[in-house]
């Protein structure tokens, strides 16, 4: 599904990603953890094609194709979805309108007929059950005046409607109370399938109690400094990120990382 090789990227004058390697197979869920500022969102943005981040080195293959050569919309057509950490507000544009335009662009690319307003409404109503969102959200402007939790649910709803092959969730759990967290986790679990891969970026371990990952990677200072199974997340929770920082310094000094 996704192969990242020695990926380097910068934003502004700052080198943020400093050699990332990662393999994600179809049907797998990987978690990426790491302290604030370690480059998690930057990685998500690079994968989705944000132009303010410049790739300076490395390669990314997605379904066998050169991902970095595609403009962002083409990545979406090919089934890549990013649930944003900070979903942006678009005044005057309803979620319904945005999402229908997106879905139809994707369908068009795949040679499928466009869905009309009635079909679309039926589809979205079904998906809304998954995230427990009120229908009134759909006619409101995209994310405008939404609470933090509502924005995150809206991202999961959009993911459900667009039915991606590769979903990247950037801290979709942050700032949620336990009930909202459960709703979001259920939504994500409901979308797990043999064909769909997910990259779940999270700062805390608690989401991983609900969404159990196949692998966990720890990102620190622009590099994956440790990878392991779900127990790594628990260890991290217990020892804190300071542990990783120490190790990372050790690694820089030449000691091999213990996996």
């Amino acid at each position: 599904m996704l192969q990242i090789r020695n990926l380097h990227a910068r934003a502004g004058d700052k080198e943020i990603l400093r050699g990332i390697d990662l393999d994600l197979k179809a049907g797998e869920v990987h978690a990426i953890m790491g302290p604030n500022g370690s480059g998690k969102s930057t990685l998500a943005n690079v994968l989705a094609g944000r132009e303010s981040v410049e790739v300076t080195k490395g390669q990314v293959l997605y379904l066998g194709r050169d991902l970095l050569a595609m403009p962002p919309e083409e990545r979406a057509w090919e089934g890549l979805f990013l649930a944003f950490q900070y979903p942006v507000e678009i005044p005057g544009v309803s979620t319904l309108y945005l999402l229908k335009a997106g879905l139809n662009a994707i369908r068009k690319h795949r040679g499928l007929p466009e869905v009309d307003a009635i079909e679309f409404l039926a589809l979205i109503k079904e998906k809304m059950k998954l995230v427990d969102i009120d229908q009134s959200f759909l006619s409101r402007a995209v994310n405008e005046g939404f609470s933090g939790g509502e924005k995150k649910r809206n991202e999961v709803l959009q993911m459900a409607v667009l039915d991606p092959k590769l979903a990247i969730l950037d801290e979709t759990d942050s700032g949620l109370d336990i009930d909202a967290l459960r709703v979001v986790a259920n939504g994500v679990n409901g979308l797990r399938s043999k064909e769909r891969s997910m990259l779940v970026i999270t700062h805390y371990q608690r989401l991983l109690n609900y969404v159990v990952p196949d692998r966990v990677h720890v990102l620190y200072n622009g590099r994956i400094v440790r990878s392991g199974d779900k127990d790594l997340a628990l260890a991290l929770e217990k020892k804190g990120y300071a542990w990783i920082e120490q190790e990372a310094r050790g690694m820089a000094a030449g000691a091999p990382p213990s996996a």
Binding site: E51, L68, G92
Partner: protein, 482 residues
């Protein structure tokens, strides 16, 4: 890789003006320049009654004493008023009664503009009074309107057929000496539209005029007068295009609206005149005086405008709220792209008690465009309980464009309540990226974001017009995020 989307957007915005063809029709014109003889000649060609000629001459003499205004935030080379042809009419052998008699070349032009008159009659139920250069060539639906007592015809015809109405209301909202351009218009105006809706009649269709400036170097000076008698309702649409030419063309129109007791007039404009090329050469100079008077109590006037064209726009559709409880509204979207300059806004003059006004202005600047909002809210002494709400939002689409806001407020009655909100935002790279991540192409995304920004204005437009406006906006902004 960093700028690929920016580039697409640029390609898009640089799309060429699609209405830039010239129609090859023999035109009857007067010699270049302006003097009393020219004015007499215009009046005579039109067979006008004496009062009209007198009025024109009065305006001309006043104009001679006036100075071209310089306060607007627009810059243009001096206009040589002696180098303009003030009258140009397609040579028509006889009075046109039906579409079949109209020059086929002319009809082709309308088709290129996307206004098949016949089609529009049947499908849209729009009565179109088409102004081609200076003379109105086809007035449709007239018969149907006549049954209701509605008069909708060219201004020239109104002068001949309904001189009393013209005499009563002409200049009653925009006097002949109101300002430099209005005085010039009053002296030389060649044609325009006239509508009168009698007492208690609700006009069953949108009345519409398409203006088109065709002949080279002709200034176009139309004059529109719309009167809604007590309890009447009318919605009027104005749409404009002009061919592409190297020299700037002057357009100095005057529109007067009158709403009597309990009457409502809605006036909507979608203007996409040739804005000049990407270097700022050519294009229409649009200096227009538009004003409505809510003469009777409970009357209402709504201006809605979408301005995407013209090299220079100088335009302030205004309302004089004279009747008690009368309402004035102004909804505007103005786009300035490439080297366009737009200086628009409104004036709301509150005279009567409990008068209310709403101003929603959306300015979009792209390329090197300069967009200025200039608005005035004036509450006079007698306007007890007057209220105004103003909202001015600016959207910047490049780092080389500008947005300027000049709100003027004058309050002479302490019971008045005024609210003003303003915002400036840059079309966000993050908004664009969000849409693209959902699979939407950059040009569609820009369209979507801009339409969202303009929503409060678009929803005031009649349905078909709103769709048209949205498309126009897309065309005039393509490629402009930078």
């Amino acid at each position: 890789m960093a700028s690929s989307s920016t580039k697409t957007i640029q390609d898009l915005t640089q799309r060429d003006y699609k209405y830039g063809f010239v129609t090859d029709i023999e035109a009857e014109t007067v010699p270049r320049g302006l003097n009393e003889d020219i004015i007499r000649a215009i009046s005579e060609k039109k067979g006008e009654p004496e009062f009209m000629l007198e009025w024109r001459l009065k305006a001309y003499r006043n104009w001679l004493t006036m100075k071209e205004p310089t306060w607007a935030n627009v810059h243009y080379p001096p206009i040589d008023y002696q180098n303009i042809i003030y009258y140009s009419a397609p040579k028509v052998k006889k009075q046109v009664g039906s579409l079949d008699e109209v020059d086929p070349e002319l009809l082709k032009t309308y088709e290129k503009l996307g206004i098949p008159l016949g089609e529009q009659q049947r499908l849209a139920g729009v009565a179109v009074d088409a102004v081609f250069d200076s003379v109105s060539v086809a007035t449709t639906f007239k018969e149907k309107l006549k049954e209701l007592g509605i008069i909708f015809c060219s201004f020239s015809e109104a002068v001949l057929e309904h001189p009393d109405l013209v005499r009563q209301y002409l200049g009653s909202v925009v006097p002949y000496n109101d300002n430099f351009f209005a005085a010039l218009n009053s002296a030389v105006f060649s044609d325009g539209s006239f509508a009168y809706i009698p007492k208690g009649v609700r006009c069953p269709m949108e009345l519409s005029t398409y203006f088109r400036i065709n002949a080279a170097d002709t200034g176009q000076f139309e004059r529109t007068l719309i009167v809604a008698d007590e309890g009447a309702y009318v919605s009027y649409l104005e749409g404009c295009t002009a061919p592409m030419r190297d020299t700037n063309q002057l357009h100095a129109a005057v529109v007067e609206l009158v709403a009597l007791k309990n009457a409502t007039v809605k006036y909507s404009t979608v203007q996409n005149w040739y804005p000049g090329d990407k270097q700022g050469k050519g294009g229409i100079f649009n200096f227009v005086t538009k004003r409505g008077k809510c003469l009777g109590e409970n009357s209402k006037i709504t201006w809605t405008q979408v301005e995407t064209g013209s090299a220079i726009t100088w335009k302030y559709p205004s309302c004089i709220l004279q009747g008690d409880n009368s309402i004035g509204e102004f909804y505007s979207v103005a786009v300035a792209n490439n080297y366009q300059q737009a200086d628009t806004g409104t004036k709301m003059i509150h005279i009567g008690r409990n008068t209310r006004s709403t101003i929603i202005s959306k300015g979009i600047s792209a390329g090197h465009g300069q967009n200025t909002y200039r608005g005035m809210v004036k509450i006079l002494k007698g306007a007890r309980g007057a209220r105004n709400y103003s909202q001015c939002d600016s959207l910047l689409m490049s780092s080389t464009c500008g947005a300027h806001t000049f709100p003027y407020i004058e309050v002479k009655n302490s019971t008045a309540r005024l609210e003003h909100e303003a915002s400036t935002s840059k079309i966000g790279e993050d908004q664009l990226f969000y849409c693209r991540q959902r699979g939407i192409k950059p040009e569609d995304a820009v369209n979507m974001i801009v339409s969202g920004f303009c929503k409060e204005v678009f929803r005031e437009l009649p349905m078909e017009f709103a769709v048209e406006a949205q498309k126009l906006l897309g065309v005039s902004l393509e490629g402009s995020v930078g």
